[in-house]
């Protein structure tokens, strides 16, 4: 294991059974939401994880944090494999790893005041000795995320989407974690608010020396915030490299198509850009194609791609890709 790695993920698999029959409830197959991904998340970096809806990126984030118990593989964090830990051990480990959710409307308990939402992790982990200390910590946390502490007794519905996301960030920061999984933290927000939240996450990472796994589908925002980027398609990693390299030298045909599909807010440039338009839709993860998962939509697919699954290998120093043609 690389000494810089804070989290080491090896061959992580998360399968969900599909069932049929109301009485016997037989398992008829598996949806391979995450199918053997390996990556390391280095201390102090932001690793971006991008892909289209249904590619398994959120499931991967949840399986890393053990919000789902993975079907296979290991997640090494602070020297031990989370996937093999007992529930009490895991509960202690959770202090050091937290999550920021996508939907700021669904991820906050509507019956709890802001102060209770933010203080809950502190109580669960026994991190405050008395009420006065708790109040002081909540005030600190609210200030840190740009919320006026005088709003502590309000309920979530009294806040806008951007402010609610700040509450979710304060809750994630409460236990002073090392590692935070940000699952599409800005995609539910308006354009003018997105930049506020991204800037806040960046400031907090520097100030508190946090490490992020930043899951998103918006590649321009991911490129902006990430040190390195991993591209996922149908449960597997397609490419992983530094964010500058991914944009300047994308190796995988899927990454190229994804980059070319993202419109740039510059009309004359947009008129000149060549698009790689992918045909068809994402195949079902319950019935993935044989060989390379991308072969059904790949404009360059050869006979071998439909037969043999390409290995995810280091093509250039620090640049991994899973493609027979690179």
């Amino acid at each position: 294991m690389n000494e810089k790695a804070l989290v080491q993920v090896n061959q992580l698999k998360m399968y969900f059974p599909t069932r049929a029959g109301s009485f016997l409830n037989r398992t008829t197959g598996y949806i391979k939401a995450v199918d053997g991904i390996s990556l390391e998340i280095r201390r102090g970096e932001t690793l971006g994880l991008v892909g289209e809806s249904g590619c398994g990126k959120s499931t991967a984030g949840r399986a890393i944090l053990q919000l789902y118990r993975p079907t296979g593989g290991e997640v090494i964090f602070r020297g031990s494999d989370l996937a093999r830990q007992s529930a009490p051990e895991l509960r202690r480990a959770r202090r050091h790893m937290q999550m920021i959710f996508q939907d700021p409307y669904a991820s906050l308990n509507p019956n709890m005041r802001v102060s209770e939402i933010v203080a809950r992790p502190l109580r669960v982990h026994g991190m405050v000795a008395n009420k006065a200390e708790e109040t002081r910590r909540v005030t600190d946390l609210m200030t840190k995320v740009g919320l006026n502490p005088s709003l502590r007794d309000r309920y979530p519905h009294e806040f806008s989407g951007g402010q609610r996301q700040r509450i979710g960030i304060a809750r994630a920061l409460a236990t002073s974690p090392d590692f935070i999984v940000c699952d599409e933290p800005i995609s539910a927000l308006d354009v003018s608010i997105q930049a506020q939240i991204v800037n806040l996450l960046e400031e907090l990472r520097e100030e508190l020396q946090l490490t992020y796994l930043f899951i998103a589908h918006d590649l321009s925002m991911v490129r902006y915030i990430s040190t390195r980027i991993a591209v996922m398609y149908l449960g597997k990693l397609m490419e992983l490299t530094s964010s500058a390299e991914l944009y300047e030298n994308p190796l995988h045909p899927y990454t190229r198509a994804l980059l070319s599909a993202i419109p740039i807010p510059d009309p004359p440039l947009e008129r000149q850009r060549q698009r790689i338009i992918l045909r068809g839709d994402l195949p079902s993860p319950a019935n993935p194609p044989s060989g390379c998962n991308f072969s059904t939509r790949c404009p360059l697919a050869q006979e071998i791609c439909r037969r043999v699954e390409p290995e995810f290998r280091q093509v250039e120093p620090g640049h991994w890709a899973a493609c027979h043609l690179v």
Binding site: S192, S220, R223, P263, D266, I277
Partner: protein
């Protein structure tokens, strides 16, 4: 001029007070042109276009003022029956969420054929043939075999293609598309945007494209209107708007986006604060609480939309194309 909207005002009369959703907006669309209306949620962009065909739920909504002229006739004074002859026939809608705008218990073929028999006076057999043509036009593979499928049997991108086929069915002169790609993935969004561009070029249909995505708008639009708090705050041809944004809000939006092609990382310039409450809007310019250029005049008087260049209008007393006076 195909469509002209003048001083349109739409309000919602709710128990919590009057919501000023659209506050006197004016714009026009020429034949074959694509006008993009850009704004954030709550800016009034959807209510503005729903008002064109009186599709705003009433009550609580009511169009309280303005004129909407389509090919020389005033739509607002038209009888409900005459208006039905225009809806879907001469002006068609494509909505954001194809799952909720298609009837889940009706076969795709029957849904498209319905407007053909209702407006086009076709027989069922003619309508069926035309439906197959339309589905193949929007790029649905094996169209004849998919007529009997239900909406849930289509993917999100394919459903949006069905919506576009329905919109095209009566060869309308204007298509109003309300965030048609927002629910779709980027690779599917690219398919739909290219399809719309191609259809627009082939058929010469005018389009009003509503979006919050300044990237898609750059790709598709001829002209852009930027909405904020129920007002059009800036309007310009697409190249001009992106190259020389005049309203502080437009510039703020453009600067808050990271660009995929930027080499250096500069901090994103967030627009501080929140959009105003439309029930009790502040006096003066609605952008004042978030604006770095606001003066006392802005706090008292709301600036009108005024020309600042060729086809370029902005509603700002201290707009950014003004020679800046050093204090």
């Amino acid at each position: 001029m195909l469509l002209e909207v003048r001083d349109l005002q739409t309000k919602f009369f709710t128990v919590d007070g009057v919501v000023n959703a659209v506050n006197g907006i004016s714009y026009s669309v020429d034949r074959g042109e694509c006008l993009a209306i850009v704004g954030e949620s709550g800016s009034g962009k959807t209510v503005g276009v729903l008002s064109i065909l009186q599709l705003v739920p009433s009550p609580p909504g009511r169009i309280v003022g303005g004129q909407i002229t389509f090919k020389g006739t005033d739509l607002l004074s038209m009888s409900p029956k005459a208006l039905r002859g225009i809806r879907g026939n001469e002006i068609a809608f494509v909505f954001q969420d194809p799952m909720t705008s298609l009837n889940p218990v009706m076969r795709i073929g029957a849904q498209i054929a319905e407007s053909l028999t209702a407006h086009g006076g076709m027989t069922r057999r003619q309508a069926r043939t035309r439906t197959v043509e339309l589905l193949s036009l929007v790029g649905i593979p094996n169209p004849a075999s998919r007529l009997n499928d239900y909406p849930h049997q289509f993917s999100g991108g394919m459903r949006q293609r069905v919506m576009i086929a329905m919109a095209l069915s009566c060869s309308p002169e204007l298509i109003i598309a309300d965030e048609p790609t927002t629910a779709l993935d980027v690779t599917i969004q690219a398919q739909i945007v290219e399809l719309v561009k191609q259809l627009q070029a082939e058929m010469g249909t005018a389009i009003i494209w509503i979006s919050h995505d300044l990237g898609v708008v750059a790709r598709l639009a001829d002209r852009v209107a930027v909405m904020y708090a129920g007002y059009i705050v800036e309007q310009a041809p697409v190249d001009e708007l992106y190259a020389r944004p005049a309203h502080p809000y437009t510039r703020g939006l453009l600067n808050s986006l990271p660009r995929l092609d930027s080499k250096v990382k500069t901090k994103l310039e967030a627009i501080k604060g929140l959009p105003p409450n439309l029930t009790a809007p502040p006096p003066g310019c609605p952008f004042v609480p978030r604006c770095a250029y606001a003066t006392d005049r802005c706090r008292i008087h709301n600036p009108p939309l005024a020309e600042v260049g060729a086809k370029h209008a902005v509603a700002c007393w201290n707009h950014l194309l003004k020679p800046q006076v050093t204090p």
